[in-house]
């Protein structure tokens, strides 16, 4: 197992109270496997990614749990070792390339720095290697682009440049946090093509995070659905899309024209809005929006349990049905 | 449970409520009770101690003495009124949790948690009170020159808290009278500067176009001058007395505010609520007054506190140079100047008025800092506002 997350809990300690952005999550990623994490905005997906790298900003932190990467618990690793994991073991690309690239350094330098740090190349070699990485990411005129500053690139180019930086350390796991959300539709397609190409070519594991189930379904072998800091359903992607069990997942799929077309329920979204994480509903936090909810759901949060082969779900009604 | 416990406390004896602090003590709010009591006891002590002056003030033609006595009475009335109201409030909300969630309540709570800012407010209020009460408090006539040879350059002592100056005048008395000059000039000049700046900036922002362009080019020129040079030039052109000095300070310091307010309003101007106000058919000036200015209020509050400090400092600087308030009228600035040549033998002449000045300026800047943190914790301090 490449990555095993166990009972991960992360919180922000705010003036207004404790905000549990990740509230007891466990999952595995095998080498070479692509795993998807979906959920509406604000449900804690990014914080899961940052928890794995132990990079949650103040006033937040990982409170408990284990993040086993190649058998070692990252949360208890000495800083020196942890730095080697970051970049060389696990690479990450962020939602907004414009914000994640340092505005005052040339793209080439930002890539070369990573290469020098993790692969120990000399300055000049690192630069030509950086140009190669840029080319591999499908950037035209890589030599010229290496000398550009981030503000001189288009949105899609910036995204490619950021992926190049993440790939420069040759990580075994790539976390892609909303890799296409900030982009135009056509560019979105290009970037997801690029990700698939990386997947094929480098055989690395990918944790793809998005609110867009379509994108995830397209790439991931297995998919996890997240709601208010918890996983509510995990399954092989085909099964999850074909036979969703959890009412929330069903709602998500129902909201998508292509995926939802086959199911008998007419195209529809989920009523209501994501609750405030500071003021969560009791019991199953989904109950105010759930069409199956009854009094049982309001008491205790349902545990994530096996509902079928390689298929887990956190819903009282689903367990009753099976 | 709690409610039942609170029940017998609900109606403390009426009389007790009228003695400031007693009501609080009865309700278990010891800290506030003791503070209120101390405050009222001190006020009453003052009245009794300086009874002659307190009473005489009403039969003299001097407005400032009359004001001082009235102020004492108001202080007493105020503390009684406040403690009555506060006791009522505590009783009403007994048992309930008192954590308001409105932005103002949150800001107030944040501010109160900032101890330095709260102390600063106390110091500022204390200094202003001392300034107003100067005619009642001062042990000596600030202008009286007694037997010079016997009294000049006396070091600080019980008789003369801050010592005496070269003419044998009591420096404590002069410092209190100096406080009146310095503190009132600072406040008035700030009000003038903020008013002009706010109006000017609003007009520029609201009308935009050529008006805005012309107005802001004038501001550019004005801001290019080092403020203190402008002040120096103006005190050179006009004979400086208190009124003129207030005007000079106020009239040199407004462009920063104007620029700031303009920027603030421009960003608000495009927001939806202005559109809706316009849709209802409100006239232009009403839109500005009703919507835009209140939205820019909290930053103005912060800069106002800084501006008072700036104005007091500028007045002190000018007076120190002999170009502002001139002796024999005491101001902290000219008092420091009076002591500057005798630092070795009579350090207290320059030390105390300058110390009070410094304390005032520090208090204002800590206050501004506290206000900023409380009102807009995300905003980061500009170096110069």
């Amino acid at each position: 197992m490449l990555l095993s997350v166990r009972d991960l809990r992360s919180a922000f300690f705010l003036d207004e109270g404790e905000l549990w952005a990740v509230d007891g999550i466990s999952f595995d990623v095998e080498a070479g496997e692509t795993v998807g994490l979906v959920g509406e905005s604000g449900c804690g997906k990014t914080i899961v990614a940052l928890s794995i790298l132990d990079l949650i900003p103040h006033p937040g932190r990982v409170v408990s749990g284990r993040v086993l990467f190649e058998g070692r618990d990252l949360l208890r690793l000495p800083p020196e070792e942890m730095r080697k994991v970051r970049g060389a073991g696990i690479g990450i690309i962020f939602q907004e390339a414009a914000a994640a690239l340092n505005p005052v350094y040339r793209i080439g330098n930002q890539i070369a720095d990573v290469i020098r740090l993790h692969r120990g190349l000399a300055r000049r070699d690192a630069w030509s290697e950086a140009v190669k990485v840029l080319a591999a990411m499908g950037i035209p005129e890589p030599e010229k682009r290496a000398r550009s500053y981030p503000f001189e690139l288009s949105g899609g180019m910036k995204q490619r440049a950021m992926i190049a930086i993440a790939m420069a350390g040759r990580p075994k796991l790539l976390i892609a946090d909303e890799p296409t959300t900030a982009l135009d539709l056509t560019v979105q397609a290009e970037i997801s093509d690029l990700l698939r190409q990386i997947q094929d070519e480098y055989r690395m594991a990918i944790l793809i995070i998005s609110h867009d189930l379509e994108l995830v379904a397209d790439m991931a072998d297995r998919t996890m659905v997240m709601y208010t800091g918890r996983l509510v359903e995990t399954a092989d992607t085909k099964e999850l899309v074909g036979e969703p069990m959890h009412p929330y997942t069903q709602g998500l799929i129902g909201a998508i024209p292509v995926l939802g077309a086959g199911s008998e329920t007419p195209l529809q979204g989920i009523p209501g809005a994501v609750p405030d994480l500071l003021d969560l509903p009791s019991g199953c936090t989904f109950h105010p929006r759930c069409r199956l909810a009854d009094d049982e759901c309001k008491l205790e949060p349902p545990p994530l349990e096996d509902a079928a082969h390689r298929h887990q779900c956190a819903c009282y009604k689903v367990r009753v049905q099976t | 449970m709690r409610r039942e416990n609170a029940e017998p406390r609900r109606s403390p004896h009426r009389l007790r409520a009228f003695v400031p602090g007693l009501g609080h003590l009865a309700l278990g709010h010891t800290g506030r009770g003791v503070r209120l009591m101390l405050f009222s006891v001190a006020t009453i002590f003052l009245v009794v101690w300086r009874w002659d002056r307190f009473i005489d003030a009403f039969s003299t033609p001097f407005l400032d003495r009359w004001l001082a006595s009235i102020f004492l009475i108001l202080m007493l009335a105020g503390v009684i009124w406040y403690s009555l109201r506060d006791v009522g409030r505590i009783q009403q909300s007994a048992g309930e949790e008192r954590r308001g969630k409105s932005p103002w309540a949150v800001a107030m709570r944040r501010f109160r948690e900032n101890r330095l800012a709260v102390y600063s407010i106390y110091i500022i209020i204390l200094f202003y009170a001392l300034a107003i009460l100067a005619p009642i408090l001062t042990p000596y006539d600030p202008a009286a020159i007694p037997d010079v040879m016997a009294n000049r350059y006396l070091p600080p002592s019980g008789d003369h808290l801050f010592g005496t100056d070269e003419f044998g005048r009591d420096l404590f008395s002069r410092a209190l009278y100096g406080a009146r000059v310095s503190l009132s000039i600072g406040l008035l000049a700030m009000i003038i500067a903020k008013t002009i700046g706010t109006l000017y900036g609003s007009v520029a922002a609201y009308f935009g176009g050529t008006v805005d362009n012309v107005l802001m080019r004038i501001v550019d020129v004005w801001i290019a001058f080092p403020t203190f040079y402008l002040m120096l030039m103006l005190v050179g052109v006009f004979e400086a007395n208190i009124v003129v000095l207030v005007l000079i300070l106020g009239l040199t310091a407004w462009p920063g505010t104007a620029r700031f307010i303009r920027g603030e309003i421009l960003s608000l101007k495009n927001q939806a609520f202005t559109e809706s106000a316009r849709a209802i058919g409100l006239p232009a000036h009403l839109i500005i007054v009703r919507h835009l200015i209140p939205s820019a209020l909290s930053p103005v509050l912060v800069t106002a506190a800084l501006a008072v400090a700036g104005m007091i400092g500028a007045e002190a600087g000018l007076s120190y140079l002999g170009l502002g308030i001139r002796p024999p009228t005491p101001s902290w600035g000219n008092m420091v100047a009076a002591g500057k040549d005798n630092l070795l033998n009579a350090w207290w002449v320059a030390f105390f008025p300058g110390g009070l000045l410094t304390l005032t300026l520090i208090s204002f800047s800590l206050l501004a800092d506290g206000l900023r943190d409380a009102l807009d914790p995300k905003a980061l301090m500009q170096k110069y506002v």
């Binding site: - | 330095l116 980061l380 170096k383």
Partner: protein, 330 residues
Amino acid sequence: MLKYIIKRLLLSVPLVLGIVTATFFIARLAPGDPMDMYLEPQRQRQVDPEVIELMRKRYGLDQPIHVQYVTWIKNVARGDFGESFRHRRPVRDIVAEAVPYTLQLTILALLLDALFGISLGIISAVKQYTKLDKTLTVGSLIVYAIPGFWLALMLIMLFSVNLGWFPTSQTRSMNYEDLTMIGKFLDRLWHLALPVFVLGIAGAAGTARYMRNRLLEVLNEEYIVAARARGFRERTVIVKHALRNALIPIVTIYGMSLPFLLGGATIIETIFAWPGMGRLTVAAVGGRDYPIIMATTTIAALLTVLGNLLADVTYAAVDPRVSYDAPRKR
């Protein structure tokens, strides 16, 4: 780059014209005849009315105001500020002697400001949420608020009068002429120490606060998290990724701090008997020496404009995002 500089220079021409105009009209705001001011110092001598007329002619005060204004602009353009009422010498010469002293003082103060301000600001930001940060933050607020003249007097009292470590005033020691080159230099620094400290320390306090907040702001940026996620050391993250971004706007702040320094220098120069522009102005205001007041005020404003210009050009040079073709939007 050169094009950018020229463009910025041209853009400041109207501003400079505005400054020169403003000085003229403020000076003419004075109630009464400007000649009265000239005569005031010698009023005891009962000047002959004919002489007054002659003087009026000589200073061009017999002309209508718009003619005077045009003359003033022309003269300023040639660097001619007239003749001092007091010293009976060309103002240009008097001011030219004073400006270098003021520049020595302000430039050193600016250095002190940068040195202490930036480093303390960085320490404060890196140690956020610690006692040290709190102390530095409150301390800088307090230092920023202390009035310079009082601080100067207290330092003189302590270090000059009581301890005798530094001179109380003046620019050089009695034996200055006998000193070697290095000796002269050290002697000058020794005389500059207190005034530079007083002048620079308030700015340093302001810079420290600004630097702290700026750096904290940058440390919250996503590219900092991104840099950490690439495995760089915390030191590298701060020094290489955060600091450069945080320092860029400081340049503009320094452009803005010049008017405050010049203003502060007036009092400090007077206290330390430092023969710069500030002391000259203060003396001129006391003696109503109009030509000098107008000259120094104009020059102070021009220096401010120049400072801002330098700041903008430096900014353009250090920030890759600024293109030289378009003027930077404010």
